[in-house]
Amino acid sequence: MKLNSVLVIDDSKYDLFIATEILTDYCDVKEIVCVDSAQKGLAYLQSKENALEELPEIIFLDIKMPLMDGFDFLNLYSQLSDKIKNRCKIYMLSSSLDPTDIAKAKNNNDVIDFIEKPLSEKHIGKLFN
């Protein structure tokens, strides 16, 4: 499976590490971009507005983050241009078992699916089905 770019947004340094390792191991990804906050994720996407081909095809988004959490990110993301949104598929990646979190994530139009941490090989297989 070939991917040009993947963006991982998570405040946990080891979760980012795990995501990077798994993606590296089970995917052919040219570029894995890791940011430790929602703000940085938004800034990264906006910076690629004029370089659409560099935009990540997949975004892994953590829910629980300080200052701005995953849902805050989604609110701002929905206001981005369609050019950006049409290219990115967002997966919520969280350790939360709270059903409201899960439902909220799944009901968001911009979110493809909710993935329960830790990210693993089986999740990667599903990504492309």
Binding site: Y14, S95, K117, P118
Partner: protein, 505 residues
Amino acid sequence: MHKIKYGIFFFIVWFQLNIQAKVTTQQEYIDSLITVAATLPNDSAKVVLLERIGYFYISLNPTEGKKYTTKALELAQELGLKSKEASSIALLAANYAANSEFDKALEYNQQSIKIFKSIDNPKGVAGVKTNLSQVYTKLANYTKAIECNFEALKIYEETDEHRNKGIVYENIANIYYELKEFDKSKTYYLKALNLYKNHTTDADEARALGNLARVYMEIPHYDTAMLYLNKAFNINQRNGNKSGALINLSNIGNVHSRKKEYVEALEFHYKALEIATDLGLKNHIATGKGNVGSIYLNQYKKSNPPNQNLIDNAQKYLTDAIALCDEIDFKAPKVGFLESLIEVYVIQKNYQKAYELTNEKTAINDSLYLLSSKEQLSKLETQREIDLKDKDLLIKNKELEIISLNNQKKSLFYTFAIVVLIILLFVAFTYYRKKEKKHDKVISEIKQIQSHEIRGPIATILGLIKLLKDKDRPDESKREIIEGIEETTNKLNAVVNQIINNTKK
């Protein structure tokens, strides 16, 4: 002998008068004033003179008194003398009161107070309030009476109005007498007498002595009562105060009657009746006749063999007395006289009449007893004109006072109990709420922490372990994973410790 007492009330007007009646009799003095008045032109001096005549007629002949005070009033109005207008009206009220026309008396007193207030004359107000209190006492509206007295006393205490203060004391004593609080009544009469002794004429002293004697009749202490009555009678006699003397005589008769000395009792009551008839004082005539009739009845009962003349006399006097009571609406004494007359008819075997009168008596009695039962202010004992409504109010007030006092105690206890209960409930509730809140807080905290802070590290640790297991990695990578596991486990440990600590709080 039925228990009929004789109230003594005099109407004293607020302003001091230069009483010269000591040397001559009152009537002679008044006649001389009338002669002088006829020679005066229509000026303020004439108003004063007319008022003086009206004042002296209060105790002598209220009907004449009304005439002269009305003349004084008209002249004061003509001359535009507000203060004289007010005092004339007060005197007119006093004459009406002396004539048992209490409605008019109330009306004129209030009118007078209004004028005195409008010209800012507090002494005038106090004087009329004093008179008003006596009217209220006569009407058995003791609450109002006491109120008036204390208002007057307040004004007098700021001045050196010794005589007027004495009169107020006397009024208060009168009220306590009516309420059968004889100790208090005695105390106030003595206070009044003390003031009179040094600051006024013996006329006031005579009146107070007569009133004090009534208290001794009730205690009872007949010898002391008799002593004071004789003293008072002598003073009144000397001053030509006929109505004062008549009341003293009547009361002396009552003392004899109580001592079952009927011959002497009859003698004094006849004397009193004579004076009352002379002065045309209907209420005094009524009680005089009633008292005479009652004594005849008692004499008849003691006579052996029965003396028919005595019972006939009793019937005659009692019938007259009752008719007169009806005329002036003198209810309470009427009950006493009816009781005696019923006895007379029973003795005469005139059962039809006795039955009729019994019904009448019951009807009045019921209305009177209804009002007085609680306070045991037995109507049969008061021989006083009673305004039923006012009396009702008084008794109700007293009752309410007692009830509210009890209720106050009760409600104080209940209030206390309720407050304690509320506090306990509040404390329990707060404690429970706090506990529950804490419980809730702990649970939601655990939930929150579990999903994010516990589940997060666990997921990380599991992920890292999986990385280790799935593939052989370079040493550097392995070391980083192990470091990650250690660090995340420490983080988890801290979170768990935090939860334990929070739960303890």
